[in-house]
Symmetry: C2
Subunit: 431 residues, 2 copies
């Protein structure tokens, strides 16, 4: 039974107990959220690790994408990125490899990872086709489903499947006069496949086949947003909304089949549209967990898109996004290196935490309270420990000439906390 | 005549012409905004540089704080920070020096700067007192006003004055049971002065004297938020709002006296309270330009508070903040070094730009359009040029193994833009 089927049947699984304990919520309530499809626990039955939940009432989770490309591939480097991502706070890692020995890379990552692992199976399926000197549209349906099945067997916890790229949604896209067309790798490969073969997307047409495979391994489906806007000019156009409606329908079918499902979201979105996008997804997709990439509220942040993404991500999480896919400083420019991975995870973590404060997550408020109490006491040790990135906070504190005093070099003797305490310690205004 | 007096009298000054041209707006409209107190042009009559405007209908401006501290002071380093801040996009720089030869440092910065310069005169006034082995409360009113006068004479364009720290607002603060008390350096020094001397804040009680000095040099007053929250737990409490009401009254008095005025704002503020804070300030202060520090929507970002500040700043600007004071990665930990200054300015610039998109600033949308069009063409040269930080974007692009191809190492042969173009170039779905 999948986690969803167990929840519907009223059974609290070991995974639910673990998640409920780590989130400090009632396991019964968690079970009900899972049964309603508002929470998922992405965990393949064949993959051993400590599971986490994604969805309503839980802390906002963050994902880090890693993976090789044909011009840059080294398994050890990817495992290092995985370690760095997890130690910086990633709750999930996606292996998006497209270069080198793909099976060996995925197996190494699954074996090494203490967190849930996601993939985009079309990448591997298409890479194999290209390696055999065939063209993308020559991939067969059987090859695609066989790749998905093999990833289920390997232990992948969640997969991105671009089921919303259909003949219908592509026609709508054609009429949209977009600035950027399609910017989803998987989505565009399927688009080409559909056009060249003059056939419907197998991930849509044979969705029941996909559900069967996903159910067998309790692989969570992450319904990809192949039509996500790649520019703020394209946000929430007819194409994006058409795909969302299709994903909403497929989410309902997934739940009916006992398959856990989340929805992927944009993309480039102007700040003022982010909250509305979150509410629309909740309505259209029956509150299925929303997994957003960014969003990026400007197109010109290249080199600092982890910051752009953190701005969008914080607003998204505050308005109900459940799962943030990180964006690194390398976004739009190059494959992220290990430092980019770290910067990306930290920026996402800040966004998720700010979202959690708005969601009223008690553990998040507790952290801020601890920090402010320590700051008031000028207790530097606790401040460093409580910082979202203790390692960097310590490094910056250590470069201060005042590091052995209780103040910092910023204010020195003009420390406001000390001055105010002096002012209020021995006299009151209303004496 | 000050810019405000000129505007009221119907005269369009050279400074207004320069600002109107750079903002691409009608000089007459700008003159009216200045006359109404919704826009200021902080420019001392004795300081020569190309002026910028701050306020309604204009691009969001950003300020970088620099300055020595007693344990870290080197004028050349500060001038280097100034250069780096300006080349990264700062519209204003505040000299917050408290160590070394204060007059010489300020004079060097004023002489060297191509942008408006602000200060917090109480820092220098108090530093002189401490240097003479006296205690802070021993500073005389005459010394404080003489320092302000001397800074006006030196050519300072805007000054932070904590006029809202009064016996009344301090009584309210005492009743608030704050997590962090007072975290404003200038505010806490005045609080101690008030308590120890059992007298009213001279900057409040003798506000007319302050107005006289400011008017003589057309020094813009930046009414400081001495009671800004230093923890998200303290945001928008009775103390903060009491001070805001006092500042609103003083803003009206400033305008009546022909003195340009802006209002300073928080501080640490939960994400969900930022928009409301902006609207409240606009109402209470007659739409005087709002100059915000951050805001920081979490307390635990130490080491990455430039990101925390960019999240809050973007939302603040989108909701009407006119001027963002940068926050650097060193915030809460140490005096920022030159790299921190650069990171802080870039993060603020991203926030300001995202705010400008929401404000409907045409030049901001033009930049995003240019970037997306270049991205669509895979025109890397234009993408690098259009990025908010071209220098870093180029560095990251250059580390990519695919830098000499038209794609990037992230997607390589799976470039979505190319795939989608291939798919749509020779066949249509509705053929």
């Amino acid at each position: 039974m999948t986690q969803l089927e167990s929840a519907i049947s009223g059974r609290i699984t070991d995974e639910m107990k673990i998640v409920a304990e780590s989130e400090n919520i009632d396991p019964k309530r968690l079970k009900e959220e899972i049964a309603a499809g508002r929470v998922v626990i992405p965990k393949n039955i064949g993959h051993a690790f400590t599971p986490k939940g994604v969805g309503k009432g839980l802390c906002t989770k963050i994902n880090a994408n890693i993976g090789t490309s044909p011009s840059h591939c080294d398994i050890d480097e990817e495992l290092n990125k995985l370690d760095v991502a997890v130690s910086a706070g990633a709750d999930a890692v996606m292996d998006l490899s497209t270069g080198g020995d793909l099976d060996r890379t995925l197996a190494a990552i699954l074996d090494h990872s203490p967190v849930m692992i996601g993939t985009v199976p079309i990448y591997k399926a298409m890479s194999r086709v290209l390696c055999a000197n065939r063209k993308c549209p020559e991939m067969t349906e059987a090859e695609l489903f066989s790749e998905i099945e093999s990833q289920g067997k390997a232990g992948v916890d969640f997969i991105t499947v671009h089921c919303g790229i259909t003949r219908h949604s592509m026609k709508i896209l054609e009429s949209c006069d977009r600035m950027m067309g399609m910017v989803s790798r998987g989505g565009s490969l399927l688009a080409e496949w559909i056009v060249e073969n003059d056939q419907e997307n197998p991930l849509y047409e044979k969705f029941d086949r996909l559900l069967e495979i996903a159910r067998a391994y309790d692989m969570t489906l992450s319904l990809g947003d192949g039509l996500r806007p790649g520019s703020i000019f394209d946000a929430q156009d007819r194409a994006q909304v058409t795909e969302l409606v299709i994903l909403g329908e497929l989410a309902a079918r997934s739940r009916a089949a006992g398959v856990q499902v989340m929805i992927e979201g944009p993309g480039h979105v102007p700040l003022g549209r982010i909250a509305g996008d979150m509410k629309l997804q909740q309505r259209i997709c029956g509150q299925a967990p929303y997994y957003v990439l960014g969003p990026l509220p400007t197109d010109i942040g290249a080199g600092h898109d982890h910051i752009t993404g953190a701005i969008g991500g914080a607003i998204a999480a505050a308005n109900g996004a459940d799962f943030l896919c990180y964006v690194t400083p390398a976004e739009h420019l190059s494959l992220p290196d290990v430092n980019d991975v770290r910067e990306g995870v930290i920026a996402s973590k800040i966004a998720a935490h700010i979202g959690d404060l708005e969601k009223g997550i008690a553990s998040a408020w507790k952290q801020d309270r601890k920090m402010s109490q320590a700051r008031k006491r000028l207790d530097w040790k606790t401040m460093i420990e409580t910082a979202i990135d203790s390692e960097k906070a310590l490094r910056m504190r250590d470069k201060s000439e005042d590091k052995d005093r209780d103040v910092c070099t910023m204010c020195g003797d003009f420390c406001a906390i000390k001055t105010y305490e002096r002012a209020t310690s021995h006299t009151k205004l209303d004496k």
